[in-house]
Symmetry: C2
Amino acid sequence: MREITDYQRQIAQAVEQFIANNKEESLYAPVNYILSIGGKRTRPALLLMATDLFDGDSNEAINCALAVEVFHNFTLLHDDIMDHAPLRRGNVTVHERWGINEAILSGDVMMVQAVQLMMQCPDGVLRDVLEVFNVTAVEVCEGQQMDMDFEKRSDVSIAEYIKMIELKTSALLAGAMKIGALIGGATKVDAELIYEFGRNLGISFQIKDDILDVYGDQEKFGKQVGGDIIENKKTYLMLNALALAEGNIKESLVEWISKEKFEAATKVSAVKEIYNTLEVREHTEAVMNKYYESAISNLRAMSLSEEKKAPLFTLARQLFERED
Amino acid sequence: MREITDYQRQIAQAVEQFIANNKEESLYAPVNYILSIGGKRTRPALLLMATDLFDGDSNEAINCALAVEVFHNFTLLHDDIMDHAPLRRGNVTVHERWGINEAILSGDVMMVQAVQLMMQCPDGVLRDVLEVFNVTAVEVCEGQQMDMDFEKRSDVSIAEYIKMIELKTSALLAGAMKIGALIGGATKVDAELIYEFGRNLGISFQIKDDILDVYGDQEKFGKQVGGDIIENKKTYLMLNALALAEGNIKESLVEWISKEKFEAATKVSAVKEIYNTLEVREHTEAVMNKYYESAISNLRAMSLSEEKKAPLFTLARQLFERED
């Protein structure tokens, strides 16, 4: 079994080759741009890892892995338009550089290119692979829709939040691993287990992200600690606090959320204080642990040797313990 | 062989069923809306017709036909955002009714749904059908990109214009017919011939559209006659006039194009006068005839009985002689 970084290198090469093959036309300039400004290539690396896990040939899976990366970047491109985001991975976003029309159309062609790449899998698994991919793609759209709807709502439940991150974040991680497993020749049961592993791990990963945004170490955390609090983002912690708070604490929390003018640092420490009083961190970590444990159970249930499974245990642990 | 209107009815039913199956969520409301506000369903009807032509079972092709219709409406939805269009088929556009973000995302999910529908074809042709569909989808994006690029350019050649309408309009017509033929069990040669038939017919159809916009009978033509002239649209006629005009006529034409304030009717009759002097209509009709004749040759070359081909000859003639 290879290291995750080794898979990431393999993907980086495939991405470079893909960019080199795209025509040098206005339609493809934004495609090549967003693919070239980085990203950790985690999803496609996990796809290749899943193929290897079941003794498949990762060369047969490389274009499907690339498809996942192209698809993921297509969603980022369109999401950035919807969020009016000025920056993506520290670089100016496509719609800021080329305009909204260009960003819409280049995103559209990326979606088609993703399907073209995904089709480059062995005939025997073509229908299964594409079905997983399409369901995943629909789910990602549904997750983004929920996320947009949440911004206009004040009654989002924790169950809805979990459903949203499952669709928007975990589905693609889970789908990528299942596709890799199918190409590797996994049984239906194992393919389903690795899907569940990815789904649970993805949810736990996103909840970890919410925790790090508040309790992370600014030195290690990439983004501004407290950013979610400043923007009133409906994270797991915020929804949990809103559900638990009563009386004065509730009033104070609602007041901070509705304040239009405030000093950022003051708001962050005030809301964090409320979180601490309500033991929001502990509650959130308990839920994160639950999803992590479920992922570990899925992994245990797979019909593979312990030796085979070892890198996935390591990976899960790394994601669980990460500080950035 | 059934009448084209009969196929159109079959598609209309399938569209209704598709709408009924979509979840009642914010993401799908715009999908159902754009699919329900009409359209002639020509492309999917031609797909079914092609399946029948080769003695295939049109029930095996109905979801692919629906896929073409869903894909076509996805492109209209995103094109309307890019064109800032207020109306589509006399109804308010999706981005006007729900906002740009909603229009982007609902369009995205339609593209995925189109792939899901297209996959509902027999296993034996799955890869071929999807390959045709993907190439077509990429071409439609490339055509839209060329169209957008043309707006900013003053040196568009006639060859580039033909390429643009081939990609933006004909590719989907041609692709739909080829997919229908593949499902019907056509030979590779016949599938290629029906593709070429659709491609040539589509180009001739679009040129006819340009002619009708200037020389159509207002009573019969759906849109405002002269609309392209008012908007300085780079149609075949306009590009042909720009290529042919010299001296005073050239000056006058360029002046009308650059005028910011003008009375619409005066501009239309002045530019039409220039077209008449340069015999632009005759030149344009000659080119339209050339593509029509090519389509007829493609049809003649197909390995089918004359009786089988008869409805396609009729269809081609109808499109060629239409006045709306």
